[in-house]
């Protein structure tokens, strides 16, 4: 399942809903991305996430489907927020569940790496020096490239 939403999410409630009745699940891995209050040496006040309605949901669904092809997952969820966010706010949630932990760990890492390089979201940071669009990091491309094997 994937969701793109302006509102916050409750990690505990999401795990409960995702795993309810699936008693063959042996391990659940979650990753939560938060808004930091710094970028390099600069302080960040607010962050605004722009997305491409339609394509964003499609890409997240594609990435999730790819994870389910590669690993034997019993359940998975990606929730990504958009709109204005403050430091400390949740941005993204990835949950993977499997009979065994290794598949859940690997799939969660894969999902986060891939959504950073393939999901159409753009971050704009507002700080004391004004606003700026966040630039894509080479390190993110390298992290995603590890999975091309």
């Amino acid at each position: 399942m994937i969701r793109v939403q302006a509102g916050d999410f409750d990690i505990g409630a999401e795990i409960t809903a995702l795993t309810r009745g699936k008693t063959h699940i042996g391990g659940v891995v979650t990753f939560t991305g938060l808004v930091r209050d710094f970028a390099g040496d600069a302080a960040i006040g607010t962050m605004t996430l722009e997305h491409y309605p339609g394509m964003t949901e499609r890409m997240l669904a594609d990435i999730e489907a790819e994870a389910n092809r590669r690993w034997p997952l019993d359940a998975s969820l990606i929730v990504h927020r958009h709109g204005p966010l403050m430091p400390g706010d949740n941005i993204v949630l990835v949950i993977t569940a499997s009979a065994h932990r290794q598949a859940a760990f690997e799939a969660a890492e894969f999902l986060v790496d891939w959504l950073k390089t393939k999901a159409p979201f753009w971050k704009r940071e507002a700080g004391p020096g004004g606003d700026r669009w966040v630039e894509a990091k080479d390190a993110d491309d390298e992290a995603a490239a590890r999975w091309h094997k």
Binding site: G33, L49, E50, H51, Y52, G54, M55, R58, H80, I91, V92, V112, L115, K116, T117, K118, A119, P120, F121, W122, K123, R124, W133, V134, E135, A136, D140
Partner: protein
């Protein structure tokens, strides 16, 4: 043809979405960028750093050589920074 702009491309062009009717010889993403660049100073500024611009045709990532035709939805944006 519907053209969408995101992030700083949207700011430079001055709109997030426009309906355009390029001439018949505009059949690829690269040719569309050339044609759009001539529409205004804002368009020209949006497309000046071609190597950092990404495109999608009908919501699939596209290359400069990807074909475009009337009725398509073509989007231009910088490298993504979600997650």
């Amino acid at each position: 043809m519907k053209v969408l702009y995101f992030a700083w491309l949207r700011e430079r062009v001055g709109t997030g979405e426009e309906e355009v009717a390029p001439p018949a010889d505009v059949t690829t993403v690269a040719a569309l960028i050339d044609w759009l660049s001539s529409r205004s100073a804002g368009h020209a500024r949006a497309f000046e750093q071609r190597d950092v611009i990404r495109a999608a045709v009908n919501q699939d990532f596209a290359d400069p050589e990807t074909p475009v035709k009337p009725g398509d939805e073509v989007a231009f944006f910088p490298p993504v920074t979600g997650g």
